[in-house]
Amino acid sequence: MADQNPLADLKPDKTVDARGTSCPGPLLETKKAIATIPVGGVLETISSDAGTNADIPVWAKKMGHEFLGSIEESGYWRVFVRRKK
């Protein structure tokens, strides 16, 4: 596939499956989980809440982490953040 999302090959240090919780549940899960991975590591949050895909980038910016992007699957999103500090 020519337009394969490079994020799909990323090996996250941790994956949080927050599907089935509503906003701001997945964001809170993300906040908790980022503290458990090493600085420089990648966290993947899986969320079925549409708001989370929009919230994690602004959250990452505020917290000083790097939003790497997201992959939209059918009915959920995989959102990737690199812990920077």
């Binding site: 089935g20 919780t21 509503s22 906003c23 701001p24 549940g25 964001l27 809170l28 993300t30 906040k31 908790k32 919230d55 959250w59 505020k62 917290m63």
Partner: protein, 131 residues
């Protein structure tokens, strides 16, 4: 400022508090008037009252909340307090009017304070909401 005691306002207040915690912000909730009763030990877990404006929507809302696994406003606030810096203050005048003492309130409530306390916090805050 949480003035209301019906679930249609308590739930958004709890969602906003959790969101603020996720964004690493400190939250002070100043509970007054109709809100006081909602935080009393007897009512806090059993309060199912909705504003009259939304009465006909209650069965649908209750069902959707269950289907979508949305926690109760009480559980959401308790979780927000556990994972962040959330303080809940009860208004002394409203407590006095309703004959409610600190010990009648759920332990989620940190203290009973005056409106001066509200303004001291509000003046230092970037976001203030009246719910």
């Amino acid at each position: 400022m949480l003035y209301s005691g019906t679930v249609d306002k308590l739930l958004p207040a709890a969602i906003l508090a959790s969101g603020a915690v996720a964004m690493d912000m400190a939250v002070d909730i100043f509970v007054t008037f109709y809100g006081i009763h909602a935080f009393s030990k007897q009512a806090i877990r059993t309060n199912k009252t909705f504003s009259k404006d939304f009465e006909e929507m209650v069965p649908m809302m209750t069902q959707k909340m269950r289907e979508k696994n949305i926690p109760s406003w009480y559980d959401m606030l308790a979780e927000a307090k556990k994972s962040g810096n959330v303080k809940i203050h009860a208004c002394s005048t409203a407590c006095d009017m309703l004959d409610v003492k600190k010990e009648d309130l759920d332990p989620l409530v940190d203290d009973v304070v005056g409106v001066g306390n509200y303004f001291a916090e509000a003046a230092e805050s970037k976001v203030t909401l009246f719910i």
